[in-house]
């Protein structure tokens, strides 16, 4: 059933956390796909489930979290039910991961070179000397000056931006087809953030890798991504091409999210605000999870849960559009 054009397919993914007080549903019916060479942005407020989606794809859900149903396919092959050892080989070889904090994703006791060489020899089966040459090449590609000397330094000898470059070099070491980048620029200053984003875009284009970019920063999404998925309370609220979603948001939540960002090119006395906050997992309201905060709420939203439906150009999980399409008919 996999279409030939998509590299990653996520189908009806459902992630649960069993607790003593009952099972928490963290992700519910999440479906999307990414084409080769495409950058998909995933946005939402903290707790919306965006990082969790990334963790499920790379097979690193923290226990007791587990995939309850649904499937994840990479290149048409299911990867969500693989044994640990097989998944470990896919991770790094076919899927690269970049995390928010570059200091915690590098081992402080090993030199940068040793960590790169380890990854390269594990996944590409090169000899030690060749692997080291490749490691230096990778560091040069990611814009680290004097890579030949810096390869023998430890992570603490690098600045934050340089460390994130090393992490990107590590993620790219085995030429993966898919890169899952979870808030790669959030810990960095704006000027460094711009450098890292353009680096990420360049290397992905050169290697033809698909990217899933998880971030809460709409600006980063607008500049980087081809398509964007907006998440709310563990579900997809809207998916569509970046320009469509930003300029003509179909879901009231997306509209609220866009309006609450202070804009650089217009003056407003007050920002648009979404009152209230996202519900906790154990208190998600019936119907549409956004209904208590939604300015356009009507009766149906409170009882029946909307699924993603086609709206011009994008797909949104909102009954507003169902009404419109029915009226048109």
């Amino acid at each position: 059933m996999s279409s030939p054009t998509s590299l990653l397919e996520v189908r009806h993914l459902r992630v649960e956390f069993p607790t003593r007080r009952g099972t928490l549903l963290a992700l519910d019916d999440v479906s999307f796909d990414i084409a080769p060479g495409e950058i998909l942005g995933v946005v939402g407020e903290s707790g919306a489930g965006k990082s969790l989606t990334g963790a499920a794809i790379i097979g690193l859900l923290d226990p007791p979290g587990r995939i309850a149903s649904g499937e994840i396919l990479l290149d048409g092959r299911r990867i969500d039910n693989l044994p640990y050892e097989q998944m470990r080989r896919i991770r790094g070889r076919q899927i690269g991961a970049i995390f928010q904090d570059p200091l915690t994703s590098l081992n402080p006791l090993y030199t940068v070179g040793r960590q790169l060489v380890e990854t390269i020899t594990t996944h590409l089966g090169l000899g030690a000397a060749q692997a080291r040459r490749r490691a230096i090449e990778l560091l040069e590609e990611t814009g680290i000056p004097a890579a030949g000397q810096r390869i023998d330094q430890y992570p603490h000898q690098f600045s934050g931006g340089m460390r994130q470059r090393v992490v990107i070099a590590l993620a790219l070491a085995a030429n993966p087809k898919l890169i899952v980048a979870d808030e790669p620029t959030t810990a960095l200053d704006v000027s460094i953030q711009a450098q890292i984003i353009s680096l990420l875009k360049r290397v992905c284009r050169e290697q033809g890798a698909a990217v899933m970019l998880v971030t809460h920063d709409m600006g980063v999404i607008a500049e980087t991504c081809d398509r964007v998925a907006v998440m709310y309370a563990g579900r997809l609220a809207e998916v569509g091409p970046v320009a469509e979603v930003i300029h003509r948001p179909a879901h009231p939540y997306t509209a609220g999210l866009m309006g609450s960002i202070p804009a650089m090119d217009e003056d407003r006395e007050r920002l648009l605000q979404i009152d209230g906050s996202m519900p906790r997992l154990n208190a998600v309201p019936p119907g549409c999870a956004y209904n208590p905060r939604c300015p356009k709420v009507f009766d149906r939203c409170r009882v029946e849960r909307p699924d993603l439906m086609e709206v011009e150009g994008t797909r949104a999980a909102c009954w507003l559009h169902s009404v419109q399409t029915e009226l048109v008919r």
Binding site: E45, M162, Q195, E223, A243, P262, M264, L271
Partner: protein, 333 residues
Amino acid sequence: MSNTPLVEVRDLSKTFDVSLPWLNRVLERKGRLFVHAVDGVSFAIERGTTLALVGESGCGKSTVARLLVGLYEPTRGSVSFDGTDAALTLASRDGLALRRRMQMIFQDPYASLNPRWKVQEIVAEPLREHGLVSGAGELRERVGELLRSVGLAASDGEKFPHQFSGGQRQRISIARALATQPEFLVCDEPTSALDVSVQAQVLNLMKDLQRQRGLSYLFISHNLAVVRHVADRVGVMYLGRLVELAPKAELFARPRHPYTRMLLDAIPDIHMSGRSRTPVQGEVPNPLQPPSGCSFHPRCPHANERCKAERPLLRMDGPGVQVACHAVEEGRI
């Protein structure tokens, strides 16, 4: 009301001693080591207005905030509040009265509220400390009033901080800061730990309070878009120094200092998808060994020999605009 600015900062400097312990210095033959976290910063904040300080991490903006409320003692320079020297007053018997007039809101609403106290006690502490209420009934009433003024319910006083979301906690911090009816609030990155939708709530609340109570703010942030929304004047800091100080409209329409231009250029713009921005080269240098002359010269596209040797001073460049740059002064850019 007098015409003097509410807060006036002159040549404010703070040096931290980061030397190794004495024994290490002797054995490893190393000298003392100092970081000039804030170096000769001067500005003024008019009543009822907001001055924002922006800059990247390590530029000294939080140190300025702490110096202003007296959490640090300045190494050099002075802060005058309503015409009197703040450092002297804080040390004297009138210190308490001055503290009542300026309060601070911290960045992390998870770390700045005592998790073992009920919200009622947290907000009541400044009222009790300053002896502003008499009797438990009045205290309860005042706390309820404060909580309502920041959009919470009076009954929320019975809860503990962990029962609130990040945005609500920041409202509690604001209620606590407002308890003493201050004139001046120092806000150190008040929204950077919050989600955008919650950030909008807090920024709107801060603006409403400013209008209602005539508050003056020093607003510290690294987010230029937020600064553009809240500030009247903006100061840009780099490695402990102010490099540009200008009215908001002027700074965003015509940034003068190359560093300000760089910061503005680095902001991702949500309305221009696909635009490729020119990434800035290089990173903030180590503050232990700041570059000679203008500390921005290693990253500056307009740097010449003079920039490497001579440190530029803030000078007027247009109405209300001050900028510290040789290239601007010489008309090279």
